[in-house]
Subunit: 154 residues, 2 copies
């Protein structure tokens, strides 16, 4: 099965109508696992889809994000946040109250065969989800609707 077909299948499985643009953007992401930006995707597909608009790339990626077909690389807040604690430590971002919590990561000992010979200068660990307070505040909702899902592949 070629990439175009895989893309169509993936789209259908996620209840996204497989328009040409969507197929191409998804196929590009699948065949070019270089963590591309909107600009890169746009430039790469322009020859094949001359009428393509950058807005469409944004829209399509937002749709893919919502359907969890793609993930953003990095932890993107609107504004930069600064930390006077320069020790290596983890950050937990609560998507409800939008607070950032610190946690210790000393016990995280990693052997990363893929990075053998790499010069690792900084290690960052970011978790996200719902903090204890916000879980309690929304306990009633949690039981009823889909707003709070159980842990996924964590």
């Amino acid at each position: 099965m070629n990439v175009l077909d895989s893309a169509v299948k993936l789209l259908q499985e996620n209840e996204i109508r497989p328009s040409l643009t969507r197929i191409h953007i998804l196929a590009y992401l699948l065949t070019n696992p270089v963590h591309p930006t909107v600009e890169q995707i746009y430039q790469a597909l322009l020859p094949q889809i001359p009428t393509l608009s950058k807005t469409t790339v944004y829209n399509t990626l937002d749709l893919f994000l919502a359907k969890k077909l793609v993930k953003p690389v990095g932890v993107e807040y609107k504004e930069k946040h600064y930390d006077a604690n320069t020790q290596n430590h983890g950050h937990f971002f609560c998507r409800v109250c939008e607070k950032i919590f610190d946690f210790d990561t000393h016990y995280i000992e990693t052997e990363t065969p893929e990075l053998k010979g790499f010069q690792i200068e900084a290690k960052n660990v970011y978790y996200s989800g719902v903090c204890l307070d916000c879980r309690h505040k929304n306990k009633h909702k949690e039981d009823k609707n889909e707003k709070f899902e159980g842990n996924q592949d964590c």
Copy 2:
């Protein structure tokens, strides 16, 4: 010793002239470990320093970053990058070639007492430094100048 004094000391230790503005910004960061944004710092200090300019906050934080007095929270690229691999995995950013490498994080098993009861929905691991290729290409430089430093607290 109060916070102002600690701030002065920290600045001097890092060869930064302890101007009033710098003292206040650093003291704010030390006493408010809430990972503030430029806007937050600016708004908080405006009553005390009515002539404060937001540009100064930016400049000062850039200086602090350069002297490693503060760290940015999150992994900030100029543009968003997208990944069609939605499995949890780590990313390594090479600051020389600016490529992003994937690595497996399955063996990272974490027990985080600080996050007990938190609903963890996503785990992200970001390393940065210099990749193998770029280290090799710059071997000659690596021995001579300060461009490539050894690992720090990793």
